[in-house]
């Protein structure tokens, strides 16, 4: 399959959106683009599995390589493995759901959709690039759309949040940039991921560069204590913005931590794994406890994201094949779940004009569909079997447990404790919003979800269920690729 499709479709969509004349055109073009992209992503999955079942065991498939800056060894090198395929599908699902829930954006519709498409373009490019420069380019592309989406269409302290987000992410990028250049020089001028992964850089160099890359990508994926853009950014962003932020952008970081930092610098990963584990366990528990005290739905989800993303970092820190698979599953699962969560919060906010749990109550009565979805996502978040969150978290736990040392065990147990805290805050949120008596008389006239909202929710729910009920396919997709990464790591263990 020609991977250029993956960036071609959003590119064309973006241009078409720019050239379209009225709001209706914009919306339909964006939706068509997103749907086409979903189609491409699913096709990619099938072609990928077909190729694999035909016995192709190359680590990375569908590679293509074009020259750009030949003197600097910058090549447009693309390719996918199971991890990228999973991430691409996640992005496509979140993308179409984002396009759907933004259907009724009134202000500057064209610009809104343009930025949205640009943001997803960055993500697709990021997931398929095999050249550090190109990867970094696509990573950075998405910073400004995020800033503008929050700053223009956001709510609350939007300018502050947008600024903070952009600057913190830029800070992360700065570290990544240094790390990338470090790799470039240390390897004798190569930006190519595949080449770099086959080089055995001296351990000292790896230990020097690894923290730069890991912390850099860590900022994107809310590594404690660099997560503070998450609550503000997510809560100020418009619905689709939050969905993209949490569902896609944070995954860029996780993917980077794994694909760039861990894969290319296995010795570094081994050397720092303890620190990563400590930080992620702190993030998991601390995020969960902080969530317990939040009163704003978006803050609840944002802090819970910090906690949930901690699991994927924990999986990376644990450095076992199962843990890494679990970490990736958690990325996918959290992406879908949190996107849906934000979508539902957006739907509720659109109607009640408040996000304070204390001011709501009994929404189940007026909006059964929205409340039910809200409840299901909540259950997914607290790791109910049958939904994606459970599969991912359990895989992380089982994988973490494979490590022999007591420290790892204790870390796992501490992390597992969050499932109780999660239950507390999720049920609190659900209990206070969807259940209980109706507190505000004026809410009694509210209506349930519209077609676009329903479609968005159902699409994401289907994805969540597909992982939760039959996790085998995702496991089969991710595990061999995780194994390829682990092969590099195990040499240094």
């Amino acid at each position: 399959m020609n991977l250029l499709w993956l960036i071609g479709v959003p590119l064309v969509t973006a241009l078409a959106v720019l050239l379209s004349r009225n709001r209706d055109q914009v919306r339909w073009i964006a939706l068509t683009g997103a749907a086409a992209q979903l189609g491409v992503a699913i096709m990619l999955y099938f072609l990928y599995t077909k190729e694999r079942s035909a016995g192709n065991t190359a680590a990375i498939l569908f590679q293509q390589d074009h020259e750009i800056f030949s003197s600097l060894h910058i090549r447009f090198h693309l390719g996918v493995d199971g991890i990228s395929v999973a991430m691409i599908m996640l992005t496509a699902f979140v993308g179409i759901a984002g396009a759907l829930v933004s259907w009724n954006i009134e202000k500057m519709t064209k610009e809104f959709y343009f930025l949205l498409v640009l943001l997803s373009l960055g993500a697709y490019g990021f997931f398929i690039s095999l050249n550090l420069f190109v990867l970094f380019f696509f990573l950075e592309i998405s910073v400004i759309p995020k800033y503008l989406l929050i700053g223009i269409w956001g709510s609350g302290r939007k300018e502050y949040s947008a600024n903070k987000l952009a600057l913190m992410l830029m800070g992360g990028s700065a570290l990544i940039l240094v790390g990338i250049l470090g790799l470039y020089f240390a390897s004798g001028n190569s930006f190519d991921l595949v080449e770099l992964s086959n080089m055995n850089l001296p351990a000292a160099t790896q230990k020097l560069i690894f923290p730069l890359l890991f912390i850099g990508f860590g900022v994107f994926t809310a590594l404690f204590p660099l997560h503070t853009w998450v609550p503000d950014g997510h809560s100020s962003a418009p619905t689709a913005g939050s969905m993209f932020l949490a569902g896609i952008s944070m995954k860029l970081g996780g993917y980077g931590c794994l694909r760039v930092a861990t894969w290319l610098l296995p010795a570094g990963a081994v050397a720092y794994s303890n620190i990563i584990i400590v930080l992620s366990v702190i993030a998991i528990l601390y995020g969960a406890f902080a969530t317990m005290m939040q009163k704003d739905l978006k803050y609840i989800n944002a802090y819970s994201s910090v906690s949930h993303v901690g699991f994927s970092l924990l999986g990376i820190g644990m450095l076992t094949q199962t843990a890494i698979t679990g970490s990736l599953m958690q990325m996918v699962s959290h992406g879908l779940m949190t996107a849906l969560f934000f979508a539902v919060i957006g739907m509720i906010y659109d109607r009640t004009h408040t996000r304070m749990v204390g001011e709501m109550g009994g929404l189940m009565k007026m909006m059964p569909f929205i409340s039910t979805v809200f409840f299901i996502v909540g259950l997914c978040s607290l790791g109910l079997p049958g939904l994606s969150g459970f599969v991912a978290e359990m895989t992380v736990f089982v994988g973490s447990w494979e490590n022999d040392h007591m420290i790892y065990r204790i870390a796992t147990i501490l992390a597992a404790m969050s499932i109780v805290v999660t239950a507390v805050y999720i049920l609190r949120a659900v209990g206070q919003t969807a259940m209980g008596p109706v507190k505000n008389e004026s809410f009694l006239t509210l209506t349930d979800a519209r077609w676009n909202e329903k479609l968005a929710a159902i699409l994401l729910l289907l994805a969540i269920l597909a992982i939760g009920l039959v996790p085998g396919w995702l496991n089969d997709l991710l595990r061999p690729s995780a194994e390829a990464i682990m092969q590099k790591v195990s040499a240094f263990k």
């Binding site: 750009i68 800056f69 910058i74 250049l181 470039y184 240390a186």
Partner: protein
């Protein structure tokens, strides 16, 4: 004779233009409305001509020499001049002495061309003065405005003082080596204290023109006070030309002192980035803001220069090319708005997007490019500068540079925020933009978006070296 014509083509064309304007001035007064398009066309032709018949060679016993790379650099300056003539046409049309303004500008450019090609300290000094003195006059072009004359005064005094120090350095250098020819001098340098003193004094002249901290203090005042066309000229053409000369002087002449100037560049580039950024944070006037931002940009250029080889040279030329488009687009927007209602304050830009989406996007694009954010070309420029500068694998150095990008993003976003997000009861009203200006903007915008994606350009520059 033939060789003289082709090798000195850029300078000769410039001279021709100056004389042409002189004749225009001598004759009956031509209206600005007719003269300006003419000049624009001439500049375009000049720009196109710059791409042909470029050879390597020297003249006047090594006092003048040129290479295709230098021709390319001159073409970049021509391009910038052309863009300025388009983007600032609002102000230019209103000015009383249009031919004089362009005469001064062309003289300064002639000085820069000679400066780029100079092979001799005398030639170097002469052309440096030629490149400086007219600019001071340009700064004074808003004759009735107090700040304009203040700016010009600061510029001429500072530059005179700076050239005094430069000359003292040159005299010491002459004393130490006995020659004023670059080609001979290169072999005679031995890092003796006298030479280092002389080199530092010589260096300050570049530092002054490039506004490297702490030799930058005149920059912001002059940028703010001057008419916007002069400011654009100063910040783009003047800076670009000096950067080219600086890099070739360092590499070709002072190659033997690389150990010294590497450390010097590292120290100064860090100070420059930091101070430039810190000052830019607080600025309210858009021109002053861009002045400090351009100081910070120079810090980045120094990072690239510090590499000391082909990669450094290529990355600097590439960056200047991108910088021309980005900075001119920003100044262009500022100029259009300033001409229309005299507003130059960032707070006045609040709510601009409501009324002027085109200008707003242009400004945003330019600022993102200056901040080095993809997909704009600035990203590529900065990345290559750092790639070059990091070649010595001084991680902390690139780290500091990269961290400075965060601070710079902070203040660029301030403007973006004012334009797109802040509410304003009375935003600047809708401004009609003439087709030529619009064309220039579109040219800049396209270049900003596409230069980076079109990778061959960098390789082309590298091939010229």
């Amino acid at each position: 004779m033939n060789e003289f014509l082709t090798l000195m083509k850029s300078e000769l064309l410039m001279t021709l233009l100056i004389f042409l304007l002189l004749f225009v001035k001598l004759g009956k007064g031509v209206k600005n409305e007719t003269l300006l398009p003419l000049i624009q066309v001439l500049l375009l032709l000049n720009l196109i001509a710059g791409f042909f018949f470029n050879k390597t060679g020297n003249l006047f016993g090594d006092m003048y020499f040129t290479t295709p790379l230098m021709a390319f650099q001159k073409s970049l300056l021509n391009l910038a001049a052309y863009l300025i003539s388009l983007l600032c046409s609002g102000w230019l049309k209103k000015t009383k002495h249009l031919p004089e303004f362009f005469m001064l500008m062309f003289s300064a450019m002639l000085g820069m061309f000679l400066l780029i090609s100079s092979g001799n300290l005398l030639m170097f000094y002469l052309s440096l003065e030629l490149a400086t003195i007219p600019v001071a006059a340009m700064a004074n072009f808003d004759l009735e405005r107090k700040t304009s004359s203040e700016a010009a005064m600061k510029m001429i005094l500072s530059s005179a003082f700076s050239s005094g120090i430069l000359l003292f350095g040159i005299s010491l250098l002459y004393g130490a080596t006995g020659t004023i020819h670059f080609s001979q001098m290169a072999g005679l340098l031995d890092n003796s204290p006298l030479q280092i003193l002389a080199f530092v004094f010589l260096f300050t002249a570049f530092a002054f023109k490039l506004s490297i901290v702490p030799f930058h203090l005149w920059t912001a005042d002059v940028y703010e006070g001057s008419p916007i066309a002069a400011t654009s000229f100063l910040s783009v053409i003047s800076k670009g030309a000096i950067a080219f000369v600086f890099i070739s002087t360092l590499y070709r002449v002072f190659g033997a002192m690389q150990d010294t100037w590497y450390i010097m560049l590292v120290i100064l580039s860090i100070i420059t980035m930091v101070i430039g950024n810190l000052f830019a944070i607080r600025q309210q006037n858009i021109k002053r803001f861009l002045a400090f931002s351009s100081i910070a940009q120079v810090g980045f250029i120094l990072v690239g220069i510090s590499e000391g080889g082909a990669a450094g040279l290529a990355s600097v030329v590439y960056f200047v090319l991108i910088y021309i488009f980005s900075n001119l687009a920003a100044f262009g927007v500022a100029s259009v708005i300033s001409d229309h209602c005299g507003k130059e304050n960032i707070n006045d830009y609040k709510g601009l997007y409501k009324t002027n989406p085109f200008l707003s996007w242009m400004m945003a694009l330019a600022l993102f490019s200056l901040a080095g954010i993809p997909p704009t070309a600035g990203f590529f420029g900065k990345f290559f500068l750092l790639t070059a500068g990091g070649a010595k694998a001084e991680y902390w150095y690139i780290t500091v540079a990269a961290l400075n990008m965060i601070v710079s993003l902070y203040y660029y976003l301030r403007v973006v925020r004012a334009i797109f997000m802040d509410k304003n009861e009375q935003p600047i009203e809708k401004i009609g933009i003439s087709p030529t200006v619009k064309m220039a903007f579109i040219l800049c915008g396209t270049a900003i978006v596409c230069i980076g994606l079109f990778g061959k350009l960098y390789d082309y520059i590298l091939s010229l070296i």
